[in-house]
Amino acid sequence: MFDILEPLLFALFALGIIGAGVCVVVLRRITAQALLMALTFACMAGMFLLLGAETIALFQVLIYVGAITILILFGVMFTRQDDRGYGLFFQRQSPWAAALTLVIALPVAFLAFSFKDPSTPSPKGGDLTPLAGSLFTDYAFPFEIASVLLLAALVGAIVLVKRDEQ
């Protein structure tokens, strides 16, 4: 029974991701777009679990579904949308953009779909210890840099949004 579980879950999650993604791109109601984006993130976390990377899945839920979705919602709240309806529509360059994206996407998709690698990642987990080991020993320096980067982003965001003293 469990044999069919994995492909089934995969199909489910894939559908969720693609579907929600399409909606994010195409829909015109921004709140819906934001929440569907959250759905995409959640399904992505599921994908990670299927790949056996439970730590990453954890991070995905924490950061993406948690923090980033909230941030986007705040952004939606603070900016007034067009009165014609929620969300704004397409840019002036849309025809060109769509054409170009298709032109690039088709060969890549073709390549991706004809990927002939026999390996099959298993959902067997246990990646916390090796990940932590790698992160804090081999990649300790980039880790520290990343923390500095976060600090910089934090300060930058505050500075950008500060109002001038009256």
Binding site: I17, I18, F41, I72, L88, A97, A105, P130
Partner: protein
């Protein structure tokens, strides 16, 4: 039957190009930001998938974590980027009350 690696890559590719199309096509700056997040997620998926594959095939550590470490960093960057990006949108919105990227063309010429 387990899921082949190619499937994961295919999903990642589709999601990536969806996001790219969204960035180029949508007019609302916040929506564009959301599409950028989609693209980042797609690349995360690809990275983890390849990392796990390498772990299975590769010499040495059966659970090679380089891809996963990279993903951690991408997560960090994505978070920082959203924060700053929204700060910029808010600042621009204060200047001229629009989030329509077609109308934000002060840098013309």
């Amino acid at each position: 039957m387990t899921v082949p690696l190619g499937a994961f890559i295919a999903v990642s590719a589709v999601l990536f190009f969806l996001g790219a199309g969204g960035v180029l096509v949508r007019r609302n700056a916040v929506v564009i930001l959301m599409c950028v997040e989609l693209m980042l997620n797609a690349s995360n998926l690809a990275l983890v998938a390849f990392s796990r594959r390498a772990g299975q095939l590769g010499a040495g550590n059966p659970l090679d974590q380089r891809g996963s470490v990279f993903v951690v960093f991408v997560l960090v960057i994505a978070a920082a980027e959203v924060a700053v990006g929204l700060a910029i949108i808010l600042a621009a919105y204060r200047n001229r009350p629009t989030v329509n990227v077609d109308e934000l063309h002060e840098m013309k010429g």
